[in-house]
Assembly symmetry: C2
Homo-oligomer: 152 residues x 2
DNA sequence: AGAAAACCAACAAAAATAGTCGGGATTAAA
DNA sequence: TTTAATCCCGACTATTTTTGTTGGTTTTCT
């Protein structure tokens, strides 16, 4: 029950773009440096996000990436599903798969995975990039020097 | 965001034991056959469940496994956490790990993983083996011939 | 032209997953 | 007392997924 770096890096990259929303394009190198992620690896992830219609790109010098929609219109769920595939704790609850349960016990445990799937989607779809942006603004106001408010 | 077979097989095995609760021990082979899971692989999983105090074992001929507590006292969360480790979408929200976020963005995305973790645990801890047992009884009553009610 | 960037495809190391294999220890029953 | 059923244990292995790396090509601004 863990997200891979794909999802986590992807969310951070999109969050980074959200913080620079309205300022034109952001080159991948800047995102990678700020977020401390391998640039080439992030390239692969953002390619997926582009193909999913979540970011646009501008090629050439002074090019870069930018959000394809406004921050309130992009949810964490959109990002995670693009990068990690549909959220399905078990294959039998994935939308595109038609798989028969082999026995009644399997059918019943399926109820669990269905509930879990719905709950996860609900949480992830309830948080938009705008929400994160607001959190960041609040955090900075409370603690001027970039303050690591949420350390464990 | 997918559970491995460890968690899913484990839940099915425990469910199987719940359906036979009060009937003494159940040999692993029976569980493996009914649930169509490799016996040797399931052995490894049930060893973990035993060490976690969720099942007891009886060695020797006519031995087998049985639930260590009553079905209402065992939740799906107990089983999943035993087999897959603590539910933590990101390491920074795992209880045993003290990891500093490296920048403010990472700290803010952490809020997502924390919310997600809580939601997942809530769902999984709200379902007990007894709940599944009741579902099974209902399903059988409605459809006498072992009826695959929950097919997609 | 030159530099900055996106874009692309193949490769590869490391880790996790999903088992398999072979035997040893324990116990009930014949 | 042997035998069969069963749990117990450790080592091995194949496959897949993750997490990148390498080395380019193309596009566009200055």
């Amino acid at each position: 029950m863990k997200l891979s770096t794909k999802g986590r890096y992807g969310v951070r990259a999109m969050f980074d773009l959200a913080l620079h929303y309205g300022e034109g394009t952001t080159p991948l190198r800047s995102i990678a440096e700020r977020q401390n992620i391998s640039e080439h690896y992030l390239e692969q992830l953002i390619a997926v996000l582009r193909k999913s219609g979540l970011v646009n790109s501008v090629r050439g010098a002074h090019g870069g990436y930018l959000l394809a929609k406004e921050p309130p219109e992009i949810t964490i769920g959109d990002i995670i599903r693009a990068l990690e595939g549909p959220i399905a704790p078990s294959d039998c609850v994935a939308e595109d798969v038609e798989k028969d349960c082999e026995n009644i016990e399997e059918c019943i445990t399926r109820l669990i995975w269905k509930q879990l799937q719905e709950s996860i989607n609900e949480v992830l779809d309830s948080i938009s990039l705008e929400d994160l942006r607001q959190e960041a603004i609040n955090a900075k106001q409370k603690d001027g020097h970039h303050g690591y408010l949420y350390h464990i």
